[in-house]
């Protein structure tokens, strides 16, 4: 069910539920995903992965594998050129390549075999002899920070997930921010709550595993078909690792079956390129599900300690957030982002945030929808809920009293523009759900507030006008969530033409200008802005053409809503189609293009949740009874798809809250690397999600757009923990809140 309030109506295309152009192909199986790509002579490759969490590689003998009929080539780290320090700018280069001197987690890629069939390649893996010297592994971030802990790297790359951190200890980097006087703040507090929280490793759980086909030409140039969120990052990382010029690597993004942050880096493409070079044939690698769990990047586990102080009247006066994110085998947990947004939703005059990025012998983590925010909100909103209880204040009123508003400064000191924190809280407060009393034993209600900064960055776009008045748009943002529709709608709105006259295609890295990846809730905002600018460029050129046809100065020609007209002479008028029909004969076709970097206009966003649930006191099972999410989306480009984002993120948040976790044994082996054992929610686990779409237009974007895709996963674990407390009186401080944990908490409460 969806309720939309503050619906804008000034637009002709934006805000309408147009038919998404990729829908039919996706539901009928026509859409081409990476594993659908088949090239003549294509080989199939499989990856040999480490059975140990931490070990030295003494030797690798591939001779027996190479003797097998049908095996065409084997790649190890020795086939990669030496990697100059710092050449792969974003994260440690070794993490995209094959392990060389050490393996750092169970599942670390060691070698790969290309063969005539995937079965032969699979069998050949067993013929590769790797001699390991097993080392002591460290699996807990707090232990990894202790003196004497096993050291994973001689040197940590201080660039960690886009942020630069300081070295703290051999396995840890840190980032600290502060504001005001934390000690004085706590002295002023009437009520102080301090608790520790932990969360486990969880996976994004995208349906389509990582897959690519790579073809290396005799001149060394590489063409990659890949399921990836950022084709330009894949291109640049692959070029860096293989030490090729960037124009010798072309990445063709295929349709993508989910990413959520997990498909931002090239796990397979560099090794496939080397296998293709060795064999002179295209090479396909598609991961199995256990490869995905063990060899890609899940969301980080965490340990958090939170202390909040408030006045009896409800004002927050001090906060101390200390957290350790488990980065996995290489630094890169989202510490910088979490430091920035950890306390960002509230006005807290005195605060200290200490974040640690800690390497341990587990898979190197990756973002998962609002990276770091779900963990941090679980802890900090949990403490807020407890403060509300101690003060005796309604949890929504408490949050309304403290939530940041326009003009307040974020943790870096930058003032917020118009934001919708108050609006989402008011929407929940006024919802039918919140107004309806919850009755029955072992039932509880919880609320929580989430905040996410969203992203901007560089995007490019090009629009060609055809003689019949239709247009073709090319852009470089893989479409994870219907973004091509929203981007095309922004172009159509700017051109003043129907959406049905727009055809939009996501193209390869040779065919469009640099575009950052589809992550950070940036795509509809930034690539949408690129489409707007390209459409404006089209309009400008068509104004010039009309002026030429009419023999009047361009400044006398105006355009509005797809009509070009002389400002004084009513007889001089073209519709978009009429003028398009004249282009080829009056100077040639019109192509508009743009490159934008609209970081300045990024609009942060809020979501508020209310959830009702019931706890079974016999089994500890939690059943969600009713769930309502209100999210500020700026301007909903396509309300139907926005609703889908709110529902999807909420369901993933429910899974994170109640079920999902990697089970590692004492040796760092994941023991549940299949969807049978890694329990994600299915349709039977969740009720219909009620969504309330709040539109507080972002003043930084031409159509008021804010990012939508990530905010919705942030709040569910915190809201559900509050509801469980409301139901059974127990504070839940660890994720997942699985039946066993809930039951154990109940037993402890009852003195068992």
């Amino acid at each position: 069910m969806s309720t939309t309030i503050e619906r804008s109506s000034q637009y002709k295309v934006i805000g309408k539920d147009v038919l998404r152009p990729d829908g039919v192909d996706k539901v009928t199986g026509r859409a081409v995903f990476a594993d659908d790509v088949h090239l003549n002579g294509m080989l199939h490759a499989k990856v040999l992965r480490s059975p140990h969490a931490h070990a030295k590689i003494r030797s690798i003998d591939v001779s027996e594998a190479l003797k097998m009929p049908g095996v065409r080539a084997v790649v190890t780290s020795e086939d990669f050129p030496p990697i100059p320090e710092g050449i792969v700018k974003e994260e440690g280069a070794a993490f995209f390549a094959l392990a060389s001197d050490k393996v750092l987690f169970r599942g670390h890629a060691v070698a790969a075999v290309a063969a005539d069939s995937p079965h032969v390649a699979d069998e050949a893996l067993s013929k590769i002899k790797v001699e390991y010297e097993v080392l002591k592994a460290v699996l807990d971030p707090r232990e990894a920070m202790e003196p004497g802990a096993p050291v994973l790297h001689e040197k940590l790359n201080p660039m960690s997930f886009g942020a630069r951190l300081e070295q703290h200890s051999p396995n840890a980097l840190q980032q600290i921010t502060s504001m005001g006087d934390i000690e004085q703040g706590f002295r002023e507090a009437d009520v102080v709550v301090e608790r520790e929280f932990t969360t486990k490793t969880v996976h994004q759980g995208y349906i389509e595993p990582q897959s690519c086909v790579v073809d290396t030409a005799p001149d060394g140039s590489v063409t990659i078909w890949s399921t990836c969120q950022g084709p330009f990052r894949h291109r640049d990382n692959t070029a860096d690792l293989l030490q090729l010029p960037q124009n010798k690597v072309k990445v063709i993004p295929t349709e993508i079956g989910g990413g959520f942050g997990g498909k931002e880096v090239p796990y397979l493409e560099p090794m496939a390129a080397i296998l293709s070079r060795k064999t002179g044939r295209p090479v396909k690698i598609t991961m199995s599900r256990s490869d995905v769990f063990e060899g890609t990047g899940p969301a980080c586990a965490s340990y958090m300690r939170v202390k909040f102080g408030a006045k009896k009247t409800g004002e927050l006066v001090a906060a101390h957030l200390y957290f350790c994110f488990e980065a996995g085998a290489f630094p890169g947990a989202p510490v910088g982002g979490a430091v920035g947004i950890g306390l960002g939703r509230y006005k807290i005059p005195n605060q200290l945030v200490e974040g640690f990025d800690v390497v341990v012998n587990k898979p190197r983590t990756q973002p998962y929808r609002a990276p770091g925010a779900t963990q941090i909100h679980f802890a900090t909103e949990g403490v807020v809920d407890e403060l509300c209880e101690k003060i005796g204040m309604d949890p929504i009123e408490f949050r309304l009293k403290n939530v940041v508003q326009e003009g307040d400064r974020n943790v870096q000191g930058v003032p917020f523009l118009r934001i919708g924190g108050v609006e989402v809280l008011e929407a929940i407060k006024n919802s039918d759900h919140y107004k309806t009393p919850l009755e029955g034993p072992n039932r509880g209600r919880g609320v929580a507030l989430g905040f996410w900064r969203n992203g901007g960055g560089m995007s490019s776009c090009s629009i060609s006008v055809h003689p019949d008045g239709t247009v073709s748009i090319i852009e470089g943002s893989p479409d994870l969530s219907g973004t091509r529709t929203g981007i095309g709608m922004q172009a159509a709105e700017t051109l003043g033409i129907p959406f049905e006259d727009v055809r939009i295609t996501v193209v390869d890295t040779d065919s469009v200008g640099y575009t950052m990846g589809s992550w950070g809730s940036r795509t509809s905002f930034a690539t949408g802005w690129a489409a707007i600018e390209a459409a404006r460029d089209v309009n400008l050129k068509m104004v010039e053409r009309a002026s030429s046809i009419w023999s009047v100065p361009p400044e006398e020609v105006e355009v509005s809503d797809g009509t070009f007209y002389h400002r004084d002479d009513g007889s001089k008028k073209f519709t978009f189609k009429q003028l398009a029909a004249r282009l080829n004969a009056t100077g040639g076709p019109v192509v508009g293009s743009s490159v934008v970097d609209p970081t300045r206009g990024v609009g942060p966003a809020f979501a508020a949740n209310v959830v009702d649930l019931e706890v079974d006191p016999e089994t500890g099972k939690v059943t969600i009874l009713r769930y309502t999410v209100a999210q500020d989306v700026g301007q909903a480009l396509h309300p139907g798809m926005v609703e889908g984002q709110l529902e999807g993120g909420t369901v993933q948040g429910i899974g994170w809250a109640l079920n999902e976790e990697y089970f590692f044994d004492n040796d760092g082996q994941m023991r549940n690397s299949s969807f049978l054992d890694y329990r994600m929610p299915v349709a039977l686990d969740v009720p219909m999600i009620d969504t309330i779409i709040i539109e507080v237009p972002n003043p930084g974007h031409p159509y008021g757009v804010r990012g939508v895709g990530e905010n919705n996963i942030i709040t569910p674990p915190a809201a559900i923990a509050a509801a469980i407390h409301n139901a059974i009186g127990v504070r839940m401080t660890d994720l997942p809140m699985s039946p066993g944990y809930v039951l154990q908490a109940l037993w402890q409460q009852n003195g068992h």
């Binding site: 700018k89 660039m159 997930f161 886009g162 942020a163 630069r164 300081e166 980032q175 600290i176 921010t177 502060s178 504001m179 994004q204 959520f260 942050g261 997990g262 931002e264 989202p334 910088g336 982002g337 920035g340 990756q366 973002p367 998962y368 929808r369 609002a370 990276p371 870096q412 000191g413 930058v414 003032p415 523009l417 900064r453 969203n454 992203g455 901007g456 992550w519 950070g520 809730s521 940036r522 970097d597 970081t599 300045r600 990530e710």
Partner: protein, 87 residues
């Protein structure tokens, strides 16, 4: 004079000061002035005569795209913000 907000991780260079007024008409001037008074600031912000990739500069809340050549008004507020990514 422009007002520079010093990030927490650089305050050890500024004696704990979180906001400093600095003279300069470009970002390069601002950083040079800071460096003259608080040695080490430049190394934190600049690599190969470019603002480091991992740092975004916000001038009055808006990102400056001209790097060290970015013009600065006397009334400007300048923030150095760590770049962050998403999922």
């Amino acid at each position: 004079m422009a007002l520079v907000w010093i990030p927490s991780n650089m305050r050890h260079l500024t004696g704990g000061e979180s906001r400093i007024r600095v003279e300069g008409s470009t970002l390069a001037d601002i950083i040079s002035s800071l460096e003259a008074n608080f040695p080490g600031v430049r190394e934190e912000l600049v690599r190969d005569n470019l603002i480091k990739d991992e740092i975004a500069v916000a001038i009055d809340g808006e990102q400056g795209h001209q790097g060290l050549f970015q013009e600065i008004d006397d009334s400007s507020e300048i923030h150095f913000i760590p770049m962050v990514a998403g999922g």
